[in-house]
Symmetry: C2
Subunit: 230 residues, 2 copies
């Protein structure tokens, strides 16, 4: 059995959940609150962040990038047409560029701030930095979001899927990030119709369903969040 240590509103963890569902990997979920710095978890990942996966008593695989490569190395070949890793090294490079773009740049400039300020700070104790959101941080993240949405819109209009002709890890990475921003009602969907059409396709995949049932206590999802025809 594979175990995923995750937080339900960590975009990188949602990305791994989507991959596990797309590849049909049976797994169990353990919720981890990284700010608690649980000793047993730090032994798995001295960096203290999620996601981490572990197969039975095997060594931990740490971080979304290493996890995607690991899952593809161990399960990708048997997926046939559903493999999320492109075949050619050039196409793989483009997929990995976009994967890094979404899971690092989009996360660091936009979604990480929105989630931290509006969701995690509800859960984190005040003495560890929890509390009210910082409006200056939210303002900056919202301004950056418009630039990122235009880029996703551009990719959606010029390609069938974000990194090329086939669904790839990069689509799951972008959709995982966007799903957290969408829960919070932060995405100006009406400004980017191609991005919206691409995201509607992603949201209607069976792999997405479990994410759409997650809720933050005391903070209901936006009206668009679990609506497949938003």
């Amino acid at each position: 059995m594979l175990t995923l240590y995750h937080h339900p509103f960590s975009p990188a963890c949602r990305f791994v959940r989507l991959v596990l569902a797309e590849y049909g990997v049976r797994h169990e979920l353990v919720i981890e609150r990284p700010w608690e710095r649980r000793r047993e978890f730090l032994a798995l990942n001295p960096g203290g962040f999620v996601p981490v996966i572990r197969e039975n008593d095997g060594p931990p695989v740490v971080g979304a990038g290493p996890i995607l490569e690991y899952l593809d190395e161990t399960r990708g070949y048997s997926q046939g047409d559903r493999r999320l890793m492109p075949d050619h090294p050039d196409a793989r490079a483009e997929m990995r560029r976009l994967n890094d773009w979404f899971l690092h740049k989009f996360e660091d400039e936009v979604v990480g701030h929105l989630v931290h300020e509006r969701i995690l700070k509800l859960e984190i104790p005040a003495k560890q930095g929890g509390g009210s959101p910082e409006s200056a941080v939210l303002r900056a993240a919202r301004a950056n979001l418009r630039h990122h949405m235009r880029y996703i819109d551009y990719l959606s209009v010029t390609r069938k899927w974000l990194s090329g002709e086939r669904l790839s890890f990069a689509d799951l990475a972008a959709a995982a990030e966007l799903s957290c921003a969408d829960y919070l009602g932060e995405v100006p969907w009406s400004e980017t119709e191609h991005a919206k059409a691409w995201y509607a396709r992603m949201k209607s995949r069976p792999s997405f369903r479990p994410l759409l049932t997650e809720v933050v206590r005391g903070l209901p999802a936006s009206a668009t969040y679990d609506d497949l025809d938003f």
Copy 2:
């Protein structure tokens, strides 16, 4: 011919140069100053950062992580014992975890700040943020450096190479980052003898030589920088 767009004191670019040298890939170097936001370069990488590689008129491969996977996919198999990618998925995961640790965490918490404040700000025009280093930033980076050196020391004493039994991409990533800090005389070598012994092995590799001849105009290298018996 392969072209690498780089900056001589970008640790991620140094990492790619080490990989190219270890794999014996003929290449040419183009110096890029990312803060100039050169139009032709932004067409290769809309993110605007180095490193980027390109083979002949092929598509660009952007960022150290995608570049290492690309170089291994296209050249790794013919390297035999000198391959920098471990064979087993578990060992690859550990290599990739450490590679991300050095190129992202060590970079973001330590070396990126040291290089930006002490080297790049000499070159960047004042109106784009160049000028004198911020002492508070340097102080924080130096405090973080001690933690990272202890971690490298721990890895050096418990393993033959940082990610396991064989030299891997992770050793090159750590050494590339450290080489920039060492140029600046920032590394407290006497506190971590195992890390020092590991770095001495790295520094004496032929792939390292070209890096040791790089100089910053107006800022000579530290006494230890090009000394193989530092």
